[in-house]
Amino acid sequence: MSRVIARNEWRRLFAQPLAWALLAATLAVLAYFFLLTLQGFLGLSPKLAGLPSAPGMTDLVALPLLRAVASVLLIVAPLLGMRAIAGERQSGTLALLQSSGIGATRIVLGKFIALCGFFAVLVVLAVAMPASLAIGTHPDWGRLCTGLLGLILFAAALTAIAIAASSFTRQVVVAAIVALALNLVLWMLDAGARHEGVSSDFINYLALPTHLEPFLRGIVATVDVVYFALIVAVALTLAARRLDAEREAG
């Protein structure tokens, strides 16, 4: 039944200009960034040619681009996820889902699957930019693949956060602001703490970059996969609980 919700969500996403506009604007910004880094790399390459074990295209073009994709996702995920539940509540269509008897968990899962699908498309198209350089050079396919996997997991975590924020309000803008604030806190937590002279393994573990960076460097570690899975599970459970509580408390 989550599939029915997901398919409907997906259809609705692309029937509105928001998803198209976000996709187009995001890819345009990333394409421009990609061209700039590529130009920089081409300017440097004669000097790099003389160095032993010099960094290649993957380090100097693909890696900065993948980091830029992550930064853009921090903003785009709340914008797209803000309407997931708050929008349904605002327009009165949540009653349709709640009265169908499918249950809060399936509603939340359906929304999550659809939004993750959208972000998977965005990430694949972004990673296709450095991958297209394969016609003239030899990208590190392993690192591109782990980067792609890391960004998809990262996007899934941000989507789940956006859905959770959306489940607690009927104002879509409030949902977006809360999700963005949470994303930024998780993004800057570790760097901020270090800047203040606090070095804590726990804070380091909580921070998003701690777990994304290994993927971008070609390392797939269970601890990082579990971290993203935990964020998804906690956020989606919160969203489902909130919907159930609404039924109980009104």
Partner: protein, 249 residues
Amino acid sequence: MSATPILQLQGATRRMAGRTIIDGVTLALDLGCVLGLLGVNGAGKSTTLRMIAGVLAPSAGRVLFDGRDLHEEPDLARRLGYLPETPPLYAELRVDEYLMFCARLHGLRAADARKAVDRAIERCGLGEVGRRLCGNLSKGYTQRTGIAQAIVHDPDLIVLDEPASGLDPVQAASIRELVRELGRERAVILSTHLLHDVTACCTRVAILHGGRLRHDGAVADLAGDNAHGTSLEKVFFRIAIGDDAQAAA
């Protein structure tokens, strides 16, 4: 017809933010019955319907669907169609796409859902607007699409919250005719504050006031200004104004 009523409310109570909105409502409804739920604004009609539809859980008491607790078995809601006060339409979907989603949401397989959508479109007179976006529909077609989503999966119980509100007299009459027709095979609950809606298409009437069920009986018993002085209008005003007058005194 089964011996168990299709719907039973047993002391259903709903409290919200410390206030009792619905207070111990008990009623039963069989298939083939159209129940008009009357009440002034704030009487608790919409909250009662939301409890019946499974959108809200009762704070106390039970809502039984075909003898089983709707709160404990939410899947039962698939045999129920609900039109809230604001039709729950997705503005960006076409009417046929939207109804297809509603049919699938209630567990119909794709092929069955397609046939069910065609039937609902025909029954609700939506043929002309089947491929139009829900957001571009007139008020009349919006209400009709709302009713179509409530009946598309052929439910046993249909719950309609003010389906004719804001419609012109011709559109309202056609909605009443549709409700009468639906009530021949199924159970229908129709919330309204228009007495005419009840006399025109209901077989039973229940009057809510201050969250309590104050009257429950056959519409035929309250037909016209009968010898006992118990016309629907008199009973309704006695309950609605009488209480307010008492409260003022």
